[in-house]
Amino acid sequence: MSENIYLQLEDGSIFQGKHFGAVPKGDVIAEVVFTTAMTGYVETLTDPSYYGQMVVQTFPLIGNYGISSADFESKKVHLSAYIVRNLCDSPSNFRCKSDLDSFLKEQNIPGIYDIDTRALTKKIRTKGVMNGRLSLSCPSQEAATSLSEFQVTNAVSAVSCNESYEITTGLPGPRVVLWDFGAKENIQRKLHSLGMCITVVPSTATCEDILALNPDGIMLSNGPGNPKENVQIIEELRKLCSFHIPIFGICLGHQLLALANGGDTEKLKYGHRGANQPVQDTETGKVYITSQNHGYAVRCDALPAGAEISFLNLNDNTCEGLIYKDFPGFSVQFHPEACGGPHDTEFLFQKFVNLIKKGGSVCH
């Protein structure tokens, strides 16, 4: 287990650590990002939004409570590699079925531990998000220069479902179409618990496909990558907005909705990833602690037409939520579905359901 492994960053710095998880077949190249959440590593590992990224946990003790499949946010691990300071090999929890090392081996994902994760985090904070290379042999200095060429591409199609499927309560209820850009499972669990009949559609669905399902509400999921890359989705979404169906967007869904309505997005220096981000409701002034995972944000100076900012990040004043005046839609940059992270904003799902019930019809 304790073979040496190396992490090289775009700026040429190299961290030597010990290897865990799967043995990488060749070098792994991905964007290196950090998350400051202290719990929820199982959710992080299985969050599709981390596609194309290597994730550093700033909290140093990872693996303490092992792995429980009940905590999965999707069927598998989507990130490219995992970076921790201390790997726990003797986990303890009543639901624990496996340990982190075995799980990553099984998922074919490599990991590196025993490195100075704080030093690595500070580099990312100072220089912004960088690409990295995980390699079993110490990379040459020249290898760093080629790292900048890497880009996360076609991320959404890589993590979205391929075909649509239904999740019903067995009881009649409003129909929500969940447009899957890499959705975390807790979004559907939340909707389901509120009595929604859910049809999950792949990212390739068109406006017509969705309308054909006769939805009472449309849920735009989270997902990975640069939002602007999703030209087709944005176009379909633009069309969809004119049908006055209640729309709720989360994270990437929030960004896509903004782009579809003429807003602009930008890449943040190092993103927001963690479970302690304060956002302020611009109407009430109330502050909520939220779970976040995003590298891009809607530009406050290039808002979509007819939209108002509903939430602002208290740390850096970036846009955390929008409300649309021209159609019944709202969106948030953070994750009200939590998992991992605080449940403080789960009331937004109820708000969505209320919006649906005001204007929606009932499916049979």
């Binding site: 140093p60 303890s92 302690n276 109330k286």
Partner: protein, 1064 residues
């Protein structure tokens, strides 16, 4: 909402004397709160009876009253000062309870005073058991199910609804006897029936048993707008059953998956919202280890010990933010001082792990029961920060100053398997060491988990340390990778050398990381560091980035609070830091006590949260390159570093190491006194029991025995016979092997104490204190009076002369504390400590001489003659100020309460007034005496005290008290013409001293005995019983006499004077 415009003048209530369960954390909280209020331009009135605190400094508030924390005194202060509001949530349970009483009586409303922080309704919701349960039920938060029943069927029905195991507690049986834990119906039938039979009212409480569940705490905050956040989660190493104050605690919680964590976090926020608290709150949960079931154990609607820990663990200043919220601010309007960029409305995230380790007084109280349970027994605690649990745990253990730098324990290693298992079951302060030993012997984690319910995660970490120990003891060579691994797991070089026997290996320096509340997400500028072994060191670049550097001085703090080394030393350390800053230095403080002001990241220019051992401070010194280190203010903890500093040529500011040695080394000190023609009691040093017996007989009994290099009279006793000497030598030698024992002739007489400042040429004596209690009772347990009231001018001159010559001869540069005994018209020196002492804060406040500031400036080279305080004896203050000790006897079962040379008090209060008797009155009231003027008094004293008991008896009789006495004492009293009722000893009759105590007839007990300590003795039983029943028991005849004379006078709270320290 910004600052409430209706507020102009706020009263802050402190927590009073340090007792077990309520310590320096409230000085930290109160000091932060006063600062937070003053920076808003509010006028602050502070009341606290504890003179050793920083919060009672005249600079901390506009008006400072060191007055008794009773309703009577508070009302008078409120009427005098007319504050518009009271901040109730920062003075511990004391402050909260008093505020609530004032509100409930309608007094606050009548005076137009608003209660800030928590309303009476909120306080009731947390404090009243039934209202608490109802409140939790209303918001569907589970509490521990229980019911009161008078029938077996009632118990069985309850068990059916909540499930087994069930605890049965019979009503009104002594010490809960007759109860037990039932695992099934059959057992419950038996236990409940027996419990019902034994209860005099045929009633039992049946409660769901949750011992063994995980104990998890959350610190949460709420503002008036309803914003709620979590500051920190904490998990107890010890499951439910051991008080959290006595538990090893880790932050953040380690064994909770996000699902459990968020479930409890949401519950905590739900609770603080439902209770309507505006400020900080602590919620304790029990979590079933094998399911999502949980119960709310307790809610503290105020700043607490845990919040002090959470503040230091995360860097989030809870008390400061709580104070700002109380005066109207919302969290998003308050800035995060650490990052300077973000707001206080966020949740800290950690990139390290914190371990808190309690400091218990059992090394001093050898007969006190070490068993831990629901009653807290620790006097203090240490905190350690590391990048892994093992590292933080080992740091905490070596910082606790319990002669362990590792978990292996030599005595436990010799135990049989059976005895070791019993030891683990005892749940005492050594359990973690016993668990380690069991794991070392190969006992499985599963078995130990079943036995103790300590989570497997913690046990696995202990086993990892066992593996490393075994690897070390079998190693013949240590390569760099192994050393790195060991050091990353918390092993010191010293420990590696000891375990491996390998003397030389490559030394790996510490790297220092910053505590920044945000896991490095933002660039913080807070110079709060901890050591670890990682590739990047942040301290060095931080220092290089500073725009302009000043010379650095390093101050060593005093570590955990313990008997004999309390908050006074934190007061001194903090004042020293402030003076050094004023003098133009960059000040670095090293300390590991999370309860204190000194470890507030705002106090010094830089804070290193580290144990105070040579190895732990060496790398800080290497990085900071101080021009000097200060050891004089951190008690014995800091003094212990002196030799190492001096051996390594690290400059010490102030009195040189050699002088400290000269004062502590018996031979050198004797030679010094001889050369100065100053007397001291005859004595010698011994190493064995045989030598001690010979010496004792040569000196003649009684003799005083004590180990060298001690503080607080640890293991110090007066021996009256050979048997005493044998017993005590056994205890001393088994606790501290190789220690030299000092044996002195015991001099009975008046004890005098002097704190002086010397600059090498001149000496300033701010005051002379005289003890009410004669020598033989530890100075820390004596009632001390300033100014000394019995001294003739010539005696005073002599004391000044002695003190001046001693200070100069010891080349003192700074503070020196000298204790004298005046006996048979002679003055003898008992002890000299060339450092700050317990009495310095109190003396500074009542004389108006800023002693620490002067001492610090003197250390830096300034001269007394250039300061406005002169030299020689400083002018006597207009007031008399009396320091009265406060004890925590009710928390320490088995401990004899009789006072002697071994210190037992945990705190002190001040009585300040124009006359000595009024000051004593206020001091005693402040210390909790109710000064009953009627009832009965039991006198039972040893033969050597019988000559003096008649005078005390006469005074009590004059006041109309009914006098009870045991046979010998009764005889003496009758001879003196006092009508005393004879009481039988315990074994003599059923109607005995114990039944008299229980009868409720007694207002006072005066009890002394030739032998004490062992809980089996009658005299000790009486004294323990008095503690249980809350009957004042006086074991010092001098205090008893002073008290009874005071009863004859006519002091009342409404006529007592009130003294504003700021106006002195």
């Amino acid at each position: 909402m910004p600052l409430n415009p209706n507020l102009k003048k706020v009263l802050v209530i402190g927590s009073g004397p340090i007792i077990i369960g309520q310590a320096a954390e409230f000085d930290y909280a109160g000091t932060q709160a006063c600062r937070a209020l003053k920076e808003e331009g509010l006028e602050v009135v502070l009341v606290n009876s504890n003179p050793a605190t920083i919060m009672t400094d005249s600079a901390m508030a506009d008006h400072v009253y060191i007055e008794p924390l009773t309703l009577d005194f508070l009302k008078r202060i409120i009427q005098k000062e007319k504050p518009d509001s009271i901040l109730s949530t920062l003075g511990g349970q004391t402050g909260l309870t008093l505020s609530m009483q004032l509100a409930k009586e309608g007094f606050l409303e009548k005076e137009g005073v608003t209660l800030l922080g928590a309303s009476p309704e909120t306080i009731d919701k947390a404090e009243d058991r039934q209202i608490f349960k109802d409140t939790m039920a209303a918001i569907k938060e589970p509490t521990i199910p229980s019911t009161v029943t008078t029938t077996l069927d009632g118990a069985l029905y309850f068990a059916k609804t909540v499930g087994y195991p069930i605890i049965v507690r019979p009503a009104f049986t002594l010490g809960g006897s007759g109860g037990g834990i039932a695992d099934n119906e059959e057992e419950l039938r038996e236990i409940a029936s027996s419990g019902l039979r034994q209860s005099p009212i045929h009633q039992i409480l049946v409660e769901k048993c949750i011992s063994g569940w995980k104990e998890i705490e959350f610190e949460v905050m709420r503002d008036s707008a309803g914003n709620v956040i979590t500051i920190c989660s904490m998990e107890n190493f010890d499951p439910v059953g051991i008080h959290t104050g006595d538990s090893i605690v880790v932050a953040p919680a380690q064994t909770l998956a996000d699902k459990e964590y968020q479930m409890l976090r949401s519950a905590a926020l739900h609770i603080i919202s439902a209770m309507g608290i505006e400020g900080g709150c602590n919620v304790q949960f029990a979590l079933h280890p094998e399911s999502f079931e949980y119960a709310v154990i307790e809610v503290n609607p105020r700043v607490s010990r845990s919040s002090a820990l959470a503040s230091k663990a995360t860097g989030y200043p809870i008390a400061r933010v709580a104070a700002k919220i109380a005066i109207g601010y919302r969290m998003d309007e308050i800035s995060n001082e650490i990052t300077g960029k973000t707001k206080a409305c966020f949740e800290p995230t950690l990139d390290y792990v914190v371990v808190k380790f309690p400091k218990w007084p059992f090394d001093k109280f050898v007969y006190a029961s070490r068993k831990l349970g629901t009653q807290m027994k620790a006097t203090g605690e240490v905190m350690a920060i590391g990048r892994c649990f093992e590292e933080a745990l080992l740091k905490a253990v070596r910082g606790a100053e319990i002669s362990h730098d590792f978990l292996a324990d030599e005595q436990l290693r010799t135990l049989s398997s059976f005895d070791l298992s019993e030891k683990i079951d005892e749940k005492d302060d050594q359990r973690i060491f016993a668990l380690y030993e069991a794991l070392y012997r190969g006992i499985s984690i599963a078995q130990l988990h079943d036995q103790t319910m300590v989570d497997e995660w913690f046990l696995a970490k202990l086993r990892h340390l066992c593996e490393l120990e075994k690897m070390l003891t079998t190693s013949t060579k240590l390569d760099a990778a192994t050393i790195r691994d060991l050091k990353r797991n918390g092993f010191t070089d010293k420990c590696i050398k000891k375990l491996s026997g390998i003397a030389t290996f490559e030394r790996l320096p510490y790297s220092y990381k910053m505590v920044d509340t945000c896991g490095a997400e933002f660039d913080a500028q807070t110079p709060y560091f901890y050591s670890t072994y990682d590739e990047e060191d942040e301290a060095t670049p931080f220092l290089e980035s500073l725009p302009a550097r000043k010379p650095v001085v390093m101050v060593f703090g005093s570590g955990p609070i313990r008997i004999g080394q309390g908050i006074e030393f934190d007061y001194a350390s903090v004042h020293c830091v402030w003076s050094l800053k004023n003098a133009g230095y960059e000040v670095v403080i090293v300390n590991n006590n999370p309860e204190t002001v000194s470890t507030d990241f705002n106090t010094a220019d830089r804070l290193y949260f580290e144990p105070l051992t040579p190895e732990d401070v060496a790398d800080i010194i290497a990085i900071e390159k101080p021009i000097g280190c200060v050891v004089a203010f951190g008690g014995q903890t800091a003094i212990r570093l002196t030799k190492w500093l001096s051996d390594n040529n690290i400059p010490i500011l102030g009195t040189p190491a050699d002088s400290i040695d000269a004062a502590e080394d018996r031979g050198r000190f004797e030679a010094l006194l001889t050369s100065l023609h100053i007397k001291q009691p005859k004595g010698t040093t011994v190493r064995t029991t045989e030598e001690a017996l010979t010496a004792a007989n040569e000196l003649g009994y009684p003799v005083l025995l004590r180990p060298s290099y001690v503080l607080g009279g640890q293991n110090m006793i007066i021996a009256f016979s050979d048997a005493d000497v044998q017993e005590y030598m056994h205890i001393i030698l088994s606790n501290m092997e190789g220690n030299i024992v000092l044996i002195d002739k015991y001099m009975m007489g008046t004890e005098l104490e002097v704190d002086a400042i010397c600059d090498g040429e001149n000496v300033l004596i701010p005051g002379i204190m005289e003890h009410i209690d004669r020598a033989g009772i530890h100075s820390g347990d004596s009632i001390a009076v300033y100014p000394a009231w019995n001294l003739s001018p010539s005696q005073k001159d002599k004391l000044v002369d002695y003190s001046t010559r001693l200070a100069l001869a010891l080349h003192t540069k700074g503070l020196i504390n000298i204790q004298y005994v005046y006996s048979g018209n002679q003055i003898y020196v008992i002890e000299v400590n060339p450092r700050s002492s317990r009495t310095v804060p109190y003396l500074s406040k009542v004389t108006g001489v800023p002693m620490i500031d002067i001492a610090t400036r003197v250390m830096l080279g300034e001269k007394l003659r250039d300061m406005p305080y002169g030299t020689g004896l400083y002018k006597t203050a207009a007031h008399t100020a009396i320091k009265v000790p406060v004890f925590s006897f009710e928390k320490l079962s088995g401990l004899d309460t009789m006072l002697g040379p071994e210190m037992k008090s945990t705190g002190e209060v001040l009585g300040i007034a124009p006359t000595l008797s009024e000051a004593l009155y206020k001091g005693l009231i402040g210390a909790g005496y109710t000064l009953q003027k009627q009832g009965g008094v039991l006198l039972t004293v040893r033969d050597s005290d019988k000559d003096e008991i008649a005078e005390i008896g006469t005074h009590f009789a004059d006041l109309g008290f009914h006098i009870y006495a045991t046979e010998g004492t009764a005889r003496v009293l009758r001879e003196a013409g006092i009508n005393a009722t004879k009481v039988f000893k315990i074994h003599e009759s059923d109607q005995n001293t114990m039944s008299l105590l229980e009868s409720g007839k007694l207002s006072y007990i005066v009890s002394t005995s030739a032998k004490g300590r062992s809980p089996r003795r009658d005299s000790v039983k009486i004294r323990r019983k008095s503690v249980e029943l809350g009957i004042p028991c006086l074991t010092s005849l001098d205090t008893a006499l002073a008290l009874v004379k005071l009863l004859k006078q006519d002091f009342t709270p409404d006529r007592a004077s009130l003294v504003d320290i700021c106006s002195l």
